[in-house]
């Protein structure tokens, strides 16, 4: 009975990614957070090292690994920083998988392969100023005009939105139909270099500041026929599929982020002294950390069971919603306990724990709020 899902190759991969993250990301975190930006070259670098396509097939420009190799990447990104985990996750687990799953050969060549090399930056476009998880209510629309589509509307809270080369976007292409309330929605790969696309503004956030979040504006933007991703009218189903992988990814990186915060807190509690001894040896603090360690261990166990299903190709809506909900709650709680244990040191600007605490609150909102996950679960339980 093996206790770990990782092989020696996975461990080696982890070591490589961690060394990269420690040397090329970690030293700059403070500066990037303050700037609210990080250099886009980071994608190029990650792509050239082969990190952006670990679980994509070789035929699509990936490394052909299993999902556990992607878990390794997401965990290492989660460990290093919440923003970095998010932007990388958008690139590898949100914007690109729909292209592989629903795209044509041409779309794979044009968008997916360069994205896995880090040459083209992707974003996922679902949320609008007036609608989020309620995807059926989106208003951004595309109307067919000859061989082209004319796109109008807005997308809100779009991670990587300010620098994206393309956006995998859900758009209304037909009427709201009482018989099929999820019909009339299609997915497009929106090329942001085309006329009519505008980044209205980059949004300042309370946390995860180095990742750009944008409000996007599409005004009579003409998309070629080959911008349609998948089947016209099937966009709702397609984006629901995308959301599974998205929630899986944020769970994996979120759980790893919580573990990193835990480790940093333990280290601090062992060395920082109060009343003549390390604070971690005061029983109340020790017990709080023990609780936190237990929560992290339990979360990781849940996420791994979920990842195992994902790796086997099981479309595990229930488990994914559970992992997403648990990750948001535990990640936020663990970060808060860490702030409490570290005291003032966590409240100073530039503190890693303080930064992650601010970011962790977003985990309970992005990718479908706590409440949305509970509603999904209630439905699956047959009670909602």
């Amino acid at each position: 009975m093996k206790t770990s899902p990782f092989s020696e190759e996975h461990q080696l991969l982890r070591k490589t990614i961690r060394e990269w993250a420690e040397t090329e990301i970690k030293p700059h975190l403070g500066e990037w957070e303050e700037a609210g930006w990080f250099p886009s070259d980071l994608f190029l670098r990650a792509g050239s090292l082969g990190f952006l396509g670990l679980a994509f097939p070789e035929s699509a420009g990936g490394q052909g690994g299993d999902y556990w190799s992607q878990v390794v990447f997401l965990e290492e990104m989660g460990r290093i920083n919440g923003s970095i985990a998010m932007v990388m996750g958008v690139q590898t687990d949100m914007a690109t998988p729909p292209i592989l799953e629903f795209g044509t050969e041409e779309q794979i060549e044009t968008w997916l392969k360069p994205a896995l090399r880090g040459e083209r930056i992707g974003a996922i476009g679902i949320t609008e100023p007036d609608t989020g998880s309620d995807v059926a209510s989106i208003r951004t629309n595309a109307v067919r005009d000859g061989d082209e589509w004319v796109l109008n509307g807005q997308k809100m809270f779009i991670t990587n939105g300010a620098r994206a080369d393309f956006i995998s976007m859900v758009v209304r292409t037909g009427r709201h139909d009482a018989d099929n309330p999820w019909g009339g929605i299609s997915m497009f790969i929106v090329d942001t270099s085309l006329p009519g696309f505008e980044v209205s503004r980059t949004l300042g956030k309370s946390g995860l500041k180095m990742s750009d979040t944008a409000l996007l504006f599409m005004d009579d933007m003409r998309l070629p026929a080959n911008a349609l991703l998948g089947v016209e009218g099937e966009g709702f189903t397609q984006i629901m599929w995308e959301l599974q992988g998205e929630r899986m990814a944020v769970s994996v990186s979120g759980a790893a982020g919580a573990r990193a915060i835990l480790e940093e807190t333990i280290e601090y509690a062992r060395h920082r002294e109060a009343f003549g001894r390390p604070i971690g040896t005061h029983q109340a603090v020790a017990h709080r950390i023990a609780e936190m360690a237990t929560e992290v261990e339990a979360l990781e166990a849940l996420v791994y069971e979920c990842a195992e299903l994902w790796n086997r190709g099981v479309y595990a809506t229930e488990e994914v919603a559970m992992a997403k909900l648990a990750t948001g709650l535990v990640g936020n709680r663990v970060a808060d306990m860490a702030v409490q244990v570290m005291g003032g040191a966590a409240l100073v600007e530039g503190s890693n724990v303080g930064r992650e605490w601010l970011g962790s609150r977003i985990g309970r909102i992005g990718g479908g709020s706590d409440e949305v996950q509970r509603q999904i679960l209630a439905k699956i339980m047959g009670i909602g």
């Binding site: 009975m1 093996k2 206790t3 899902p5 990782f6 092989s7 996975h10 299993d66 556990w68 333990i266 509690a269 062992r270 390390p278 971690g280 040896t281 005061h282 029983q283 603090v285 020790a286 017990h287 950390i289 023990a290 609780e291 360690a293 237990t294 929560e295 261990e297 339990a298 979360l299 166990a301 849940l302 791994y304 069971e305 990842a307 195992e308 790796n311 086997r312 488990e319 559970m322 909900l325 648990a326 409440e371 996950q373 509970r374 509603q375 679960l377 209630a378 339980m381 009670i383 909602g384």
Partner: protein
């Protein structure tokens, strides 16, 4: 690579066997037994005959193992019964007493005690806790003094599950006062010995269980009934605590699953303000939250089980890893089972307090979890210790 599966097809078939036993031999009598605060002793023999006690023991002694994953199946299914006090007695017999004999007993002792324990003819209990010492095993005061080929025991034990009617009790007694952890020795004490007295305790939880306090006065135990080496008791107890706590974790999750099932089912039937209670979003979300916590606790308990199975298979698992993951599983699951049962009471409204509904029983019974087998605070101490944060000094 993958996350190793724990249960095979055979295990699932065995799960059906245990489930049928619960459905036919336990649940139809649960309400009556709970009212009577008792259950018939022959349930042990029936369980033995159904093959429920043998999973982790070698065929040589009448078992069908050793298969610890199968044992996990037994615990999960028994724990879904409607009378947890009964399950506690069965568990104390087979998870504690019989397991100690299997692990530390001689050939002759296994023949005499383990074999009839597996068949359910001889009932066992384990006695560590005393009025003055529980998890603090080094402070036990029950004493055994050597006298020729015999040992003379004096002292008392308390909160001994299955102890009030057990045929034999594995007793931890002090055999020296030296510094260190070599002062405790285990003995197999027959309850028909002179100087043995047992009283059943009345508890607010586990109404059907035969939990007892035991008294030993100049009780003589032949050296042939000493279990393991002199002075090895502390180590044996600490080792077995891990299995006990893991089984408690799996049991708590099963109880929580059952309590949630009962709660959801009640919420479907009961109406308020013109619609079933289940139609209120707050209850839907509360149930969803509980289901996530249960599943998370289960994932953690299964992770701990994987460590135990790897350990049993002789793979590399450090003792510290095993202790840490097991303590975490116990800490996470016990309070959770109680919390779920508490919401089960809550959704029942006034009926939540009625003895004729099982909700209050799940709630009472689950409250033992964060205390028995090492309290939550003991778990936190142990976990903190494994993290390099020793906190025993207070």
């Amino acid at each position: 690579m993958s996350l190793a599966a724990i249960f095979t097809q055979e295990h699932e078939a065995y799960r059906d066997v245990v489930r049928r036993f619960v459905d036919s031999e336990i649940n139809p009598h649960a309400e009556e037994w709970e009212r009577e605060r008792d259950f018939p002793r022959d349930l042990f023999e029936k369980a033995g005959a159904a093959g429920i006690f043998g999973a982790k023991f070698d065929e040589r002694w009448g078992g069908t193992g050793p298969d610890y994953a199968a044992e996990a199946v037994v615990i999960e299914e028994l724990s879904k019964s409607l009378t947890f006090g009964t399950v506690s007695d069965l568990g104390a017999h087979i998870q504690l007493a019989a397991l100690y004999i299997d692990r530390f007993g001689t050939h002759a002792q296994k023949d005499r005690y383990l074999r009839p324990s597996i068949s359910g003819e001889l009932l066992g209990a384990l006695a560590v806790t005393e009025p003055g010492a529980g998890s603090d095993v080094n402070s036990l005061t029950t004493r055994a003094v050597r006298d020729g080929d015999e040992w003379v025991l004096n002292g008392s034990k308390t909160y001994i599950t299955n102890g009030a009617w057990a045929d034999y009790v594995v007793v931890a007694a002090r055999t020296s006062d030296e510094p260190g952890h070599e002062n405790i020795t285990l003995f197999i004490v027959n309850s028909d010995s002179d100087g043995f007295e047992a009283n059943r305790m009345r508890m607010i939880a586990w109404h059907t269980s035969h939990t007892g306090e035991l008294f030993f006065s100049d009780l003589r135990v032949p050296d042939s009934d000493r279990l393991g080496e002199v002075g090895a008791g502390f180590g044996h107890i600490m080792t077995n605590f891990q299995w006990e706590r893991l089984m408690m974790s799996l049991g708590a999750i099963a109880q929580a699953e059952k309590a949630l099932e009962i709660a959801v089912s009640y919420a479907r039937e009961r109406s308020a303000f013109g619609r079933p209670v289940i139609k209120f979003q707050v209850w839907q979300h509360r149930f969803a939250d509980l289901s996530v916590q249960i599943r998370t606790g289960k994932a953690l308990a299964y992770r701990a089980l994987r460590y135990h199975l790897a350990h049993e298979a002789g793979e590399e698992v450090t003792r510290e890893e095993l202790v840490k993951i097991t303590s975490m599983a116990k800490l996470y699951t016990q309070r959770l089972a109680w919390k779920v049962a508490d919401e089960c009471v809550q959704v029942h409204g006034g009926s939540g307090a009625l003895m004729e509904y099982p909700a209050q029983r799940f709630w009472r019974d689950a409250r033992v979890g964060p205390i028995g087998g090492g309290t939550d605070d003991i778990m936190r101490n142990v976990i903190a210790g494994t993290l390099g944060l020793a906190s025993n000094s207070g």
